[in-house]
């Protein structure tokens, strides 16, 4: 409770300082709008429907791309953990591609796939996939062999050991990887949406970039705030329960 109070006080002071700097007219109000006008811009965005639509489009792309990444990444990670040959080949490739910031996929996506939804999805998947694969593999490989031995003495073998012991034992690492994958997907999507416009549908990234073109600073800042809020909320909503469950079972402390 007290922590919450301190936190809200801090943010309130930040807003106040912002308003104060604005009122001192140190910078042009065009480039440095007041927090009130930013808030107004967000409200306007909701009123004219552009923001809800943008949020919907963005979240839909994010979820779709992310789910595809999980669908490919988790099985691949499991396979990589199992086969040395795959680690030496596909694993090394994944590791190399991890060094490429996902925005660098955008030009290739435009030329290969075109100015369309699929290209954006491609960028999101390429951004998230690597960390999902790598952490799934790491999670499985770091499972303490004692669990497997204990399970085997109780008659567990083959697929049963895999599903009932190895996967649950590696869950903490896999969930961490899913979380990193989620934030990579989110960043990749914003990069994609700001560069790659598709006709008639504007995600949040596009709305943000339109703000720049129109020199509409309140809109730029407003959309940035909305993006932050969505990032925070989705992270909590998606992983909060999982993490709490893992902390409870494993007895690890809450971060």
């Amino acid at each position: 409770m007290i922590r919450l109070l301190k936190m809200s006080t801090f943010f309130l002071l930040l807003l106040l300082a912002w308003e104060l700097v604005y009122r001192m007219h140190l910078y042009s109000p065009v480039l440095f709008p007041s927090p009130l006008s930013v808030g107004q811009s967000i409200l306007d965005g909701f009123a004219d429907g552009s923001l809800p639509e943008g949020i919907y489009i963005t979240l839909r792309r994010l979820l779709l791309g992310y789910l595809i990444s999980l669908g490919i990444g988790i099985p691949l990670g499991l396979l990589l953990a199992r086969f040395q040959l795959l680690r030496d080949t596909l694993g090394a490739l994944t590791m190399g591609l991890q060094n490429l910031p996902s925005i660098c996929w955008v030009p290739l996506a435009i030329l290969w796939i075109g100015q369309n939804e699929e290209a954006i999805l491609f960028v999101v998947i390429m951004g998230a996939l690597g960390s999902v694969i790598m952490s799934t593999q790491a999670g499985v490989q770091s499972v303490s062999p004692i669990y497997v031995r204990a399970a085997r003495t109780m008659g567990s073998q083959g697929v049963h050991t895999y599903v009932r012991v190895i996967i649950p034992a590696s869950l903490p690492t896999i969930v961490t990887g899913m979380k990193i994958g989620w934030s990579f997907a989110w960043r990749s999507l914003m990069a994609g949406e700001m560069i790659l416009f598709t006709l008639g549908v504007s995600g949040l990234g596009h709305i943000l970039d339109m703000g720049r073109e129109l020199m509409d600073m309140p809109r730029v800042m407003g959309v940035m705030l909305v993006i932050i809020a969505i990032g925070l909320i989705t992270d909590k909503a998606l992983f909060g329960r999982w993490e709490a469950l893992i902390h409870e079972r494993w007895g690890t402390s809450k971060a």
Partner: protein
């Protein structure tokens, strides 16, 4: 036909429950081939409690793993009821130095793990059996607890219940009490003797604690290291339940310790 075979079986001495027959095991390491076990033969009657004692690195844990079916011998065989052991099986339960409890399951879930692999049981029966064994180790009120909430001794008790639940005839224990404090350990000596008495298991218990071995075992078998060999054997003729602090027991322990020392000494003189 059938009745004559039966009579023959009855007139003979009971066949060994567990037989270790000329088992040899090598390990390959950076310094070369190391012989962990050299021609080990051992025979346990049904319901016998045998302790394997020796300094660390004498291969006693390796032997236990081979009996469990977790490792394969380079030569020789393990026979349970006359059948060759090739892989782990539900007829042999095992307890490790660390409890090896699964943190993603609660206490009851851990005890149910092996039971769920037994066919022909309803889930109500499985639950009943699991609760029975939790009661046997005095932890029935902790069945919903998470693993990390338990103390070291409680964890080992749950691990014991988990190993007992599928009702194996043979229980293999690999230094299960080493990581516990003395007080907890003494309580567990009492518990394990009580459970052994009640459930009549054949137990192979590995330890480097001579006193512990004399407290628990009907027989204490002495191992010497590099390569692991059986070098001596002691019959412990004390009534049960035994207390680790008994004077008689201490006398046995002294005898075993002296034997252990003399074997070690002989070997170092030979330059091994």
């Amino acid at each position: 036909m059938g009745s004559t075979i039966k009579r023959e079986l009855l007139t003979n001495e009971a066949p060994p429950k567990l037989m270790v027959d000329r088992v040899t095991k090598f390990f390959h390491s950076k310094v070369g081939r190391i012989q962990a076990l050299d021609d080990i033969s051992l025979s346990l009657k049904e319901g016998e409690f045998v302790c394997l004692v020796g300094p660390s690195g004498c291969g006693k844990s390796t032997l236990l793993n081979i009996i469990a079916g977790l490792e394969k011998p380079d030569s020789g065989v393990i026979l349970v009821d006359g059948k060759v052991v090739t892989e782990p099986g539900m007829d042999r339960g095992m307890l490790f130095q660390e409890s090896a409890l699964f943190p993603w399951l609660n206490v009851l879930g851990n005890v149910l793990f092996g039971l769920k692999l037994k066919p022909n049981l309803t889930s109500a029966e499985r639950r009943e059996v699991a609760e029975f064994y939790l009661q046997l180790v005095h932890l029935e009120q902790f069945k919903q607890a998470h693993v990390h909430e338990l103390s070291g001794g409680m964890k080992q008790r749950v691990a014991l219940a988990r190993a007992l639940a599928p009702n194996p005839r043979i229980l293999l224990m690999d230094e299960p009490f080493t990581a516990l404090d003395a007080m907890t350990r003494e309580q567990l000596y009492t518990d394990i003797q009580e459970i052994w008495e009640k459930r009549r298991k054949t137990i192979v218990f590995v330890t480097h604690n001579v006193r512990e071995a004399c407290c628990l075992g009907d027989r204490v078998i002495l191992f010497s290291p590099r390569p692991g060999r059986i070098c001596d054997e002691f019959q412990i003729d004390l009534k049960r339940p035994r207390d680790i602090n008994e004077v008689e027991l201490a006398r046995y322990a002294t005898q075993v310790t002296q034997a252990l020392k003399s074997h070690m000494l002989n070997r170092s003189e030979v330059g091994l």
